[in-house]
Structure formats: C-alpha cells, structure tokens
C-alpha cells in the first residue's frame, strides 16, 4: 500500500512535468505572437518577450485587418456551420431510412458509404474539384454540398450503428399513436439519437474546421481563404513572410478551439471515442 502511494506520487510529478512540456509549443507561439517582426528568428524563438521586443497587440491587429484573418475566420465558420448542420440532418434521416427499409438498394448504398470512409481524398481530389467547379459549388456558401457528399460515409455509418440499437417497438408505438414516418422521425427517433448527433457533430466539426486540401482545391482561393488556407498562404512562398501576424493567426486559430474544448470537454472526448470505436 505504501509502495503504491509512492509510485502514484512519482507518477504525478512525472506527468505534471510532461503536461507542461505538452503545452509548451502553444506557449511558445503565444510568446512569439507578441514579439516585433524583427525579433522573431529561429535562434530567438525560445526567448521570452521583453520590453524591447514586445509588439503589444500589433500583430493581432495586423492579422485581423491586413492579413484577412477576420474574413478567413468568417468563411471557415460559415462553411463549418452549414456543412455540419447539413450532414447531421441529411445523414441521420438517410441512415434511419437505410436501416429500416433495408432493401437491396439500401444495403448497396450502405456498403458504398462504408467503403467511402476508407478511400483517401487524393483519389478524388482532381475529379471532385473539377466537378465542383463545373457545378458551381465553389463558394463558401454552397461547398457544404460537397462536404455532405464526402462526409456522408462516416456520418451515415455512425447514425446507422445507433439506429440499429433503437427498439423497433418504439417506432411502432408511434405509428399506432398516429405518426406518419416524418413525424416518427422528428418526434421520436431524432430525440433518441441526440447523443449520436453530438458525437457526429463534433467529429465532423473537427474535420471541416481544420480541413485544408478540399477547400483549397474547390474554392477559388484568391477570393476565399479559410483559416488553414490562409496560414498555408503565409508560407506558400508568396513573397515576404510576416512572421508576427502569422503567429497571431495561429494563436487566434487555436484559442477558440481550446476554449470550446475546455468548456465541453466531456462531450468532445466521449464523441471522439464513440466515433473511433464505431469507425
């Protein structure tokens, strides 16, 4: 017993140190985001901010105004919200239909969905972006249909997994109570699936928010830049790199994520776990 306590104490100390190391990369970016552009070099990356090197919030202001971070944030937000909402609504309905009707077409479709989860994006990147172009799905406001199509695999798979656990009797009771299929879905099935909506929502949000290649290829990136595109653009060899504003952009990208994560940690972790276990 005594030995266990000592081991636990040693482990606590060890993990405390490791945790600090774990967040150090973010702390480092935070420090550098307050430095003047000239003070950010590879050699001085680890130096703390001093009065001489401090730029105050200048980098942040520059990122927001001159570098287009505000617009990028807005586009990313629009794309993420519309895409995830569309995926949640359409895929849950589709999954319910597929599981309950379960005829040959539904089965084939379901296997296609599962198959699509494995296929790497590179397989379709050229054809998908050409198709999106020709169909006019290349703005932040309608790229959500592409996301719905490409993200349907995981979402339908997860929803279908859950629908299979819903007892049929509940839906039959709804039928007898006078629901038509649409009412059954929205009054009865949808509320039961709430935990799955949260899981799928979190997974799809993480994907869409951070996605780089799909929007880069599909969107007209001179007009519309999402956050990942903007950050890549800084380094893409387009002339002079302004390191200060870039650090500020990175910080402003991470910060909302960290805040949301700390606020709804429980949901995010359980959502990610159930996504992994079912995927």
């Amino acid at each position: 017993m005594q030995r266990e306590k000592i081991t636990n104490r040693i482990l606590t100390v060890f993990f405390t140190v490791l945790s600090l190391a774990w967040i150090y990369p973010m702390v480092m970016i935070l420090m550098n985001s307050f430095k003047q552009g000239t003070a950010i070099t590879t050699a001085s990356a680890f130096d703390p901010v001093t009065a001489a090197t401090s730029a105050g919030f200048a980098n942040y202001i520059s990122a927001l105004t001159k570098q287009g971070f505000a617009a990028a944030f807005g586009y990313t937000l629009v794309i993420t919200l519309t895409s995830v909402a569309l995926i949640l609504v359409c895929c849950s309905m589709c999954a319910w239909y597929v599981v309950r009707v379960n005829n040959k077409f539904c089965k084939a479709l379901y296997y296609l969905f599962v198959f699509s989860m494995v296929v790497p994006f590179q397989m379709l990147m050229f054809t998908l972006s050409s198709l999106a172009d020709s169909m006019g799905l290349n703005t932040p406001y309608n790229i959500c249909f592409i996301y719905l199509g490409f993200g349907a695999g995981l979402a339908v798979f997860m929803f279908a997994g859950f629908v299979k656990t819903i007892p049929l009797e509940i839906e039959e009771a709804a039928t007898i109570d006078g629901c038509n299929p649409v009412q059954t879905f929205f009054h009865v099935v949808l509320p039961i699936m709430k935990p799955t909506y949260i899981s799928v929502g979190i997974l799809e949000t993480m994907w869409v928010w951070n996605d780089y290649l799909l929007p880069y290829l599909v969107l007209d990136s001179t007009k519309y830049k999402t956050i990942p595109i903007l950050i890549q653009y800084f380094r893409g060899g387009y002339g002079h790199v302004e390191l200060g504003p870039m650090m500020a952009c990175i910080m402003m990208t991470i910060l909302p994520i960290v805040i949301v994560y700390l606020l709804c940690q429980r949901f995010i972790i359980s959502g990610v776990v159930s996504g992994a276990v079912k995927g």
Binding site: N102, P167, I170, E172, T175, D177, G178, V188, P191, I192
Partner: protein, 402 residues
Amino acid sequence: MAEIVLKNIKKIYPNEKTKKHRFGKKAKEPEKKSNLQVTDEGVVAVQDFNLTVHDREFVVLVGPSGCGKSTTLRMIAGLEDISSGDLLIDGKRVNDVAPKDRDIAMVFQSYALYPNMTVYENMAFTLKLKKVDPKVIDEKVRAAAETLGITQYLDRKPKALSGGQRQRVAIGRAIVRDPKVFLMDEPLSNLDAKLRNQMRAELIKLRHKVNGTFIYVTHDQTEAMTLGDRIVVMRDGFVQQIGTPQEVFNHPANLFVAGFIGMPQMNFFPATLVRDGASYQLKTPKFTVDIAPDTCKKLAASGVDAAKTDVTAGARPEQIELVAPGEKGAICGKIVVSELMGATVHVHADVNGSEFVLVINTVDFDKSKGSSFGIGDDIWFKFEPDAVHLFDKETEKNLIQA
C-alpha cells in the same frame, strides 16, 4: 362497440431473410420456428385464422414462442401486412387501413415508451397528434393517471420509473385514446414474478373500468387462464383450440393443448382403450383404469367403437388422489422427487418407467406421513373419475368430440 372478425387470415413471409428482419427480437430462437410450414411462397407464420371477437370480450392468444400469436396481433394492429384473408372491425374491412385509423391502442412487451418525453407527454402524444384541445388532453391524461395510480410520476421520464410503473404508463397511453380495441403483446413478461401477479389482477380490474375489446398475447398459460374470456391456443401458425378457459382446461382439443395448459403439466402415458359393450377400460401393462360412465357415453357418441384402440392417455396432476395401498384399481409408483410448494406437494412417482407428477395437498401429505413417504418409497394413487383424457395415438386429437 367493437367486434373484430378475422376471416381466413394468413401470413406468409416471402423468404427466410425478410422474416428474420421483421421479427427482430424474436429471431433469437430460430430453431423453434423451423416447424412452420414452408411453401413455395415462403414461410407461413399464420395459417387460416378464423375468429370473431365480440364487443367487450377479452380474448387471449397463447402459445409457445414462434407460434404466430404476435404476428396475428400485429396484423390486427396494422404493423404487419395481411397476406390473405379479411380483417373486419365493426363490419368494415380494414386490411389496408393505416394503424392510426383503425381506432386501436397497443401495449408492447418492452413498453415502448418514448424516452425523451415525460410520462405526461408520453400519454398525451397521440392526442396532440390528433390536435385535440389541450384542456381535453389534460383531463384525459389526468383521469387515466388517476385510474392507474401514476399521478405523482407525470413529470418524470420513463428512465426514472420502475418496470411496473412503466407498464402502467404504457397502459395509460392506451387508455387515453379511448380506443375500440386494446391490443396487448406480452405486456407482463418483462416484470418479475411478484409484480406480474399484481399487474395481472389490476388488468382484470381495469378491463371492467374501460369499455373496450381486448386482444392479449402471452406465452404464459396462467395469464391466459386468469385473464381471458376466451383463449386461442396456437402452435406453428395453426389455431389449436378456441374456447373458454374451462373448456380448454377440461376438454383440451388435442395432446398439445392438454400439455400446454395446466401447471404442472398433464401426465401422459401410452395405453390401450378396450371396449366391452357400453363400458370402456384403459389398459396398461401395470394397471387398468375403468372409464367413468359419463365419459363412456361421450366416447360412444364420438364414434369410438373399435374393440381395442391405441391411445395416449392423460391425467392432470391435481386430479389424482392418494389411496390405501393395495386398493382395487390403484396404481403403485416409486417416489423419485418430492417438492414442497407450500400449500401443495408435487410428488414425482415412477410407474413402470414413466414418471407421474401428483399434486397433493400438504395437509394430506403430512397425514399420510404416518406411512412414511420418502424417496424410494411406494406411493398408491388413483385417477379421479372423469379425469382421464384420451387422445388418438396418431392424430393426437381428443377422442371425445365436443
């Protein structure tokens, strides 16, 4: 007012696969279902079902799992298509009428309460869908809750209720609709034994409070006997017998019904029925039983007139009495097991290799303790007159036609 007529109702599942899918939970016991008739069209789950359920009658469909009783109920509810035949409610053919328009309510085995709604919302849901005035809904829900004693749980979610309470909510949900017909699919089988007895008694009270016709499905013969005005015994999709509990118990139509109804099970033994003029005798190598004159008349009336007929004879354990050793016509067995159930003792006695179960009042059993009944001891008994049931060895049908 509701009279339900089932005319030659048949259910055929096109192939094995669809059947499994539609059955869901019941697919767990596929071996038991293998006795179902398979035709070119598929598996026949219900064969030529004919029944008229009168207004305010309580009919129980009973049988082992996979006998088609639930399928029949689901066809009446409209959850299952009717392959052929007619279903009439109050004289109107409703085969193609949607469940909600059949004016029925159904209580499911798993209660099927909506987990996201409170008890109140669960009960009010169907009326809300019909756009009934909220005041009326409130009245009806509260009245139903009062009847069932669940008023204090109205704001709870089903998760926070015990099995018995959930069952009441499920029944309450049916009551608020004020339907013509109540359909119940094994509503008590998820409850523990004590609660089940209690709810059974409450169901009996309930049916007198609400005006409705009940069709109730169960695999439990006790429920069937105690609840039903009439019982429909089913097996492998075929109706075996339709009758009042007394009829089914006292005059089972065949060997299956005789064995299925009654607890403990009826004792069966092979024997030969010997006719001597107007009287009959039942003969086995070990003992002979005189058939009661009443039964003899019925046998003669049913046209059993061969000098010798091979039969399977049956006698209910409760209709066996202990007699003094060596009495004329008495049967001697060796005690194998004796189980004290409380008021009665179930004695298993071995007679010439076949086992008989005797239900003896504990009082009588104690009295006869003087002659010491222990395992391995001899026990002398006799069938009560009229208590012997005779079944054709081949067709398994009761020799006495009703």
